[in-house]
Symmetry: C2
Subunit: 109 residues, 2 copies
DNA sequence: AATATTTATCGTAATATTGCGATGTATTTA
DNA sequence: TAAATACATCGCAATATTACGATAAATATT
């Protein structure tokens, strides 16, 4: 099938999975790291930086935009992308909740 | 194509993406949360809990095992799965490094 | 207005993921 | 040893993802 049965899971589980999927490609991780470093960037910079085609970068940027972790503002001919601090913190918390749910001491194996 | 160009990215970026991919399905998130709660479980329990077929659960468990976040030990006829605390902490750090790399104060937009 | 520059979108090919029935394998119990 | 129990693997169909050339859209420059 290839289609996830989202109705079997909680909203939070589906949300975490959806966000994780965006992190699940090295190009998107690289874009985020580049954004952190430069505090803004344009599609063209990333084509140079990453070595992927312009269309491919644009597609990855859209996926990042879709979960709200980055925002783009038009800057003349180009577009300036940057991280949305609010959403970034939200997503950080989502992972944090999962990770902190496991008490390191109680390993059974 | 559908094939990721891993050679364009750093080892760390590829590693984070690979781990994120495992979190990128609600069933696997649910399995991890169930493991945290019960501190151990067997495939059959999860079939009851999640409502997916046995073969499907087994496949998800394999993916979790492949990145080392869970371990299974044979317990008679069944298999007891649990979280590997060492690997869990490693993966937590991987995400933590990314998240903490962005200084919340410096939002540009 | 015409051209250049930059990003978005469309269409397509290659590959990956998801889900499950059927079957295989290993251990336990009768 | 035979049957039962529990998990893994195989094979397949449906869908999703990745990458990119071609082209569209929007702004800037001449």
């Amino acid at each position: 099938m290839g289609v996830t049965k989202t109705d079997l899971f909680t909203e939070k589980q589906n949300e975490l999975a959806k966000v994780a999927k965006v992190f699940a490609h090295p190009a998107r991780v690289a874009i985020l790291e580049f954004l952190i470093q430069s505090n803004s960037c344009i599609n063209g910079d990333l084509v140079q930086e990453l070595g992927l085609a312009q269309a491919t970068i644009s597609q990855h940027l859209r996926e990042l935009k879709e979960i709200g972790i980055i925002k783009g503002s038009i800057e003349g001919v180009s577009v300036n992308y940057c991280i949305d601090p609010i959403r970034w913190a939200e997503i950080q918390n989502l992972f944090q909740e999962l990770f902190s749910g496991f008490p390191k001491i109680s390993g059974c194996c």
